[in-house]
Structures are given as C-alpha cells and as structure tokens.
Symmetry: C2
Subunit: 204 residues, 2 copies
Amino acid sequence: MNVHSVYYFMEQVVNKIDKKALILDTTLILLSENGFHGTPISLIAEKAGIGAGTIYRYFKNKEELINVLFIEIQRRIINSMYSGYDETAPYQERFNVLWINMINYYRKHPKDLIFIEQHRYAPYVSTITRSESMRILSPVLLFFLEGKKRKYIKHLPLYTIIGLIYGPIVTIVKLNLDHNREITDEQIIHAEKACWDAVKYNNI
Amino acid sequence: MNVHSVYYFMEQVVNKIDKKALILDTTLILLSENGFHGTPISLIAEKAGIGAGTIYRYFKNKEELINVLFIEIQRRIINSMYSGYDETAPYQERFNVLWINMINYYRKHPKDLIFIEQHRYAPYVSTITRSESMRILSPVLLFFLEGKKRKYIKHLPLYTIIGLIYGPIVTIVKLNLDHNREITDEQIIHAEKACWDAVKYNNI
DNA sequence: ATAAACGGAATGAACGTTCATTCCGATGCA
DNA sequence: TGCATCGGAATGAACGTTCATTCCGTTTAT
C-alpha cells in the first residue's frame, strides 16, 4: 500500500464514519419526533438523502440501529457531564458540576432526552445495550457511593438517590419542553440547590 | 320503557362496560409489556378472548383506545392520591399523604407507570387528551400553588416543583422495577422525607 | 322476529429487509 | 498519461409479512 492508497483508504474510512453518523443523526431526529413506529426506514433514508438499502450496510437491522444510537447518546451525555469536573474539588461542588452539566446537556439536546427516556424500557433495547449502558454510567454510580460512604449524602438505597437526583432533571426538562418554556440559568441553579437539599446528609 | 326493559337495559350497559373495561385492561397489560408497535389489535382481541372487530364497536380506532386508556389511568392515579387526604391537616402532612399515595399507586400498578410514562409524549396522544390530563391534574397543581403562596414550599416555577416531587417517584419506581427490587415502606418514608427537603421552604 | 352484538376472515396499505443492478474511484497495464 | 478492469459501496424496486380496519355471516338478546 503506497502513500496514495493510504490516503484514499483514510478518506474512505472518514466517509464511512460520516455516513454512519448521518444515519444516526437523522434517526435521532425522526425517532424523537415520531417515535419508533412513526419512523420507517424508508423515511430515515429519504431524510438522510440516501437509499434505504444503504442503511443495512451500516446496521444489521432497525433494532441494531436504535441500540447503537442509544449507547452513543448515553456516552455523549456522560462525557458532557464530566466537562470541567475537578476530581479534587469538594463533594458538593462536584455534585453541582455533574448535575448542572447533565441538565444543560438535556436542555441543549432535548431530542436526546426524548429518545433516551422513550427507549430506556423499550422491549427492542437489548440486554447487551442495557448492561453497556450501566457500564457507561458507572463513574456516576461510584460518585454516589462515595458520597454515601463519606456521609456527604444521605444513607439511602442507590436507586432512591438516583431517583432524587436524575428524576427531577428528566421531568423538569420534559415539562418545560412540552410547554415550550425556556429554562433559565437561574431556574437551574435553584433546582440544583433543591436537589442537593434532597440528598445532602443531615443529622436532624 | 317498562321495568323489564329497564332491567335488561341496565344489564346490557353493565355488559358493555365490562367488555370495554376488559379491552382496556388487556390493552394496558400488553402495551406496558410490548409497547405500541408490539401490540397489534389482533393480539389484544386474542388475549381478551374476543374478536378483533369487536374492539371497533367500543373504540373508533387504536389511537382512540390508547387515548381513552391514558385518561382512565390518569384519573385512577389522581383518585388514589386523595384517599385518606384531610383538607384540614397541616400542609406538610397533606404533602406526605399525596406523595406516598402516589408512589404506592405506581408500586401497586407498575404497568400504569410504564404505560403513562411511555405515552405521555407519544405523538398519537392527542392534544385533547393532553388538556384533559391537565384538567385531571389540576387539584394537585393548586396544592403546589397554595404551598408557594403560603411559603410552605420554595418559591420555584411550577414545573420545577413538579419535577422535584414527581420526577423522583417515576425514576425510583422504574429503577426498582427494572432491576426486580421490591421497594420497602421504609425506603418510601425516607424518599418522601428527602423530597420534602427538596421543596420545603427555608430562609437560609 | 328483529335488531344489535359479535367474531374472525378478508382487505389493502405500510413496513422491514433483500438483492440484482448501477455507480465510481482505485488499480493495473500500455 | 490514458484506458481497461476491478471491487466495494450505494441504490431502490420488489418481496413477503404484518398490521389496522372493514365486512358480512352468525349468534345472542329481547
């Protein structure tokens, strides 16, 4: 393989990634707008400007397409949560960063929220996807366990803690979205404080 | 209309209601298990032990069936929230009753939770259903507004408050359900306290 | 006897998926 | 360099299946 063929090979790989990403992006938009049974493969192909058969070069079937998309978005969310995260900062400050990064991600990418929450318990999301999803989540889970152990946060079951922290994020963004309200930064600051009030350790 | 025809008329109405309820019950079970596109009308008919055509005697189409079911379940949830509710009790106590009744409803009827949350933002849930849903919710919304006005709870936008209170209920029940965990009464008591901590008014 | 209720086969539209074919840039050869 | 050949990517018409809905003969109720 000479220099030229390497170059062309690279270009081909890039194109492949681009097309795969194009399919994923288009699918996300359509799924979040119309749901699973409202987005036929033919529509995804049309909106992406490609042939229907092409999708099957990149994904085994519709189910796999959605599973890949699910994992991809989960990864993006967790990534964005850790932007500006300082491991050495005090616990409450780190909580603040994680919580606000997360709600801001959903605020900026409402389609991701709709998609993730619509598909988290969907029957065609595979067991493999579920466990992969858990793996991606694990740093956050460890963060909660640390908080419990060091008595920064209340000694509650993990799922209760996640519920108290993640539940409001989903519901607040969804409600505002559904009623075409913009969430202000001030609202987010207050909501974060309230969430912290819910989980912070106190001896009373 | 003589006595007999009244009697028969009544019986007919009862049968009709029974069959309608049977269709709704069956639909709920199948939808929460398999989702919208996993529950064809033919399957609903089969599981209900009736013909597919019969369903169309009670509902105009599949969409209407789901919209009716949505409203019906919403109504049941709100009803059960107000069991044992004492208007004259202190605010925090009333909060306690409403919150625990609600989470207990979902605990006892997980299919209702799955269904409601899966369809709340589904495109085939009509605008009419959405506004009817809001109407059913209104006593709860008024309860929050009262709390804000009288400074029992924080002065936060309504959707933030709902998020802080309802969000955890959904997420906690869903998480435990998905991981086959039983929620204990103790967990619920603690979660309720934490939720109250999130929204309760404080001057700090 | 009459009419309403019912069941489930029939219908046709829509869907996911396949595959024979086309397209196009890379490669080999002169 | 110019031309022929090659091979994988892309295409979209076609296929078989599934589904919501309709239709009509049968059953049930009065």
